[in-house]
Amino acid sequence: MAKFKYHVLVCGGTGCRASQSETIAANIKRAVAENNLANEVQVIKTGCFGFCEKGPVVKMVPDNTFYVQVTPGDADELVLEHLVKGRKVKRLLYVDPETHTAVSDSKHMDFYKKQLRIALRNCGFIDPENIEEYIARDGYSALGTVLEQYSPEKAIEVVKASGLRGRGGGGFPTGLKWELTRKSKAEQKFVVCNADEGDPGAFMDRSILEGDPHSVLEAMAICGYCIGADKGLIYIRAEYPLAIKRLKIAIEQARKYGFLGNDIFGSGFNFDVTIRYGAGAFVCGEETALIHSMEGKRGEPTVKPPFPAQCGYQGKPTNVNNVETFANIPVIFLKGADWFSNIGTPKSPGTKVFALAGKVNNVGLIEVPMGTTLREVIFDIGGGIKSGKKFKAVQTGGPSGGCLTEKHLDLPIDYETLVANGSMMGSGGMIVMDEDDCMVSVAKFYLDFTVEESCGKCSPCRIGNKRLHELLDKITLGQGEEADLSRLRNLATVIKDTALCGLGQTSPNPVLSTLDNFPEEYEAHVKEGKCPAGQCRALMQYVIDPNLCVGCTLCSRVCPVDAISGSKKTPHFINSMVCIKCGACMEKCKFGAISVQ
């Protein structure tokens, strides 16, 4: 293998690829060759660095210079200045928004300071399409150790002792799940990796699969050994073409190196992995629905028990874990259960990956120890709210979760605390909202999603959620009455108590949590016919302040329905009967004369 003096790491995650990171990598490669550095500099396309807000990201190793918002046109300068002349390209460095100074090493950035990367340990460090880079970071040595030195029972004890809990949302102890599947007697068992990341606004699992697919394969093999299965299946969303491509490459390479296949490490243990595709159904994240989908059927859930651990895929005992859960497994064996259980909180050990998105300055993928507060995540790592607006709510747990507010900001993040406060961990989506977001509309948005994604098997979910949505729709249209609020609460509670599966039981959470935390906002809609956030169109009225209007006519020209009248240099007027409330006039007005009432 050639020895390189420099490695140029270019982010190849979906977000950065959408901003031409592939062209950047190609241009850097070309510039490296043109400067006769091809023997000294290696250009690597890695998985996601996490700092998606500032993408595309390029990192120089060994000096760890972190360049942000790079464009294909910057490639020549980066190579000539940084690699040839040894000078940093200052204009592409990250500028700390508070001190206004350039920070060159990512470990000094606020975004990374409070993070601890376990599941994401290799994302952004290695080339996910090259198994040797994974091996160089101790890849597959956990599998080797387990096969040579541990009995399956002893290995399960390690997972149990680590305290690892399912990262897909439920938080079920992983070791216990493995033990239950091991105890089920059958000729054939299966290991399933749930990569059907359906929460809108969540991209943790996708980033792990794109950035470090081998860690998941290694963990699945360890799981197979523990429970006595020789077949693994990965159920992945068809919407993730890049993750699928990298998984396929990883499986091929692992087979070639003998980490998958027959007689792994000469231990006599056989294990192989195949891929099954989802086809866009949120409910398939539920494990019984997922199993039916893998069998080529409609992804409808069934009543548990029997649990998949007893009767799963093709009626055989099946262990289903989520991508992030698996990504933690190899490290637990390498560093020990004690090391892992000392991170985080006693009841929720380890770390959690979150996809931080919405109205926050630093959108991206982060991993923090359990017990970190929401405030630290949103304000220290996330850099606070965009455009200096006021924080209003943070939504965790996706369509099954709830909205938490200002008063919850100092709560530690762990499974129990979030549930006790009306939300849930979920798979790790975290959407930040500001003062401009109407909480009734947000609840309606989630219900919209649930109504569309409900499989229709049980009536509380199929009909109940539809009715909930209708009530919310009525309120946002300004036709709500006070009694609707208690109707909402009653119906939501009934659905929660009676729906068949996890989707239905949690679908009213966005409604209940917003009702609890923002009662005044609901009341303003039904009592005063007002939307305090100014988002519900039917309740809005655009008006022009005659004192500020100079009569430039810009608004009347941009109005698509000719609702604005007035002659040049005299104050204009909006006819609210004609106005469709599109907001185009307000965006165009340079004098701030138009407001919403």
Binding site: T14, G15, R17, A18, S19, C52, E53, G55, E197, G198, D199, P200, G201, A202, F203, R206, S207, A238, E239, Y240, R276, Y277, G278, A279, G280, A281, F282, S293, M294, E295, G296, K297, R298, G299, Q314, A355, A357, G358, K359, V363, G364, Q395, G398, G429, I431, M433, D437, V442, F445, Y446, F449, E452, C455, P560, C582, G583
Partner: protein, 157 residues
């Protein structure tokens, strides 16, 4: 039986796809993915052929096709436009972008323009939340799209 409209060679290819998966009913979803790649959509006659090959009822195939949002029984436009309606894009103004596409193309979500050039659909999160709001046209991803950008984007095609 629906009238056969797809070319004979495509029917042949469809049967090859089914064979590739050993005509296993458990592989139905994988078969449908490849069939949709081949033809762009899954009309009734395709479902009948798949059902015959995999030895399951047409109702079963239809049930699966209509259950999953990824499968479509209607042909898409030459340039399928998808607006991300994930939460991150929603709070950053995806709805306004969608409205603008609807207005400019004069079609509703799920429809195709009369010339067959564009079709419009919504999807839930492509995972590029850092670029919200996001739209995709074919394989290409556009980030930080504002309603004002819509005309410029459409003019590219």
């Amino acid at each position: 039986m629906a009238k056969v409209k797809i070319p004979v060679n495509k029917v042949q290819e469809l049967r090859v796809i089914c064979k590739k998966f050993n005509n296993d009913p458990g592989e139905l979803i994988n078969v449908l993915h490849e069939a949709q790649n081949l033809l762009g959509y899954l009309p009734a006659e395709v479902q009948e052929i798949v059902a015959e090959e995999l030895n399951v009822s047409v109702a079963h195939v239809y049930g699966v096709v209509t259950f999953y949002s990824f499968f479509s029984m209607l042909p898409k436009g030459k340039h399928p436009i998808s607006i991300c309606m994930g939460t991150a894009c929603y709070v950053r103004g995806a709805e306004k972008v969608l409205e603008e596409f609807k207005r400019r193309l004069d079609i509703k979500v799920g429809e195709t323009t009369p010339d067959g050039k564009f079709s419009l659909s919504c999807l839930r999160c492509v995972g590029a939340c850092g670029l919200a709001p996001v739209i995709t046209i074919g394989e290409r991803v556009y980030g930080r799209v504002s309603p004002e950008d819509v005309k410029k984007i459409l003019d590219e095609y």
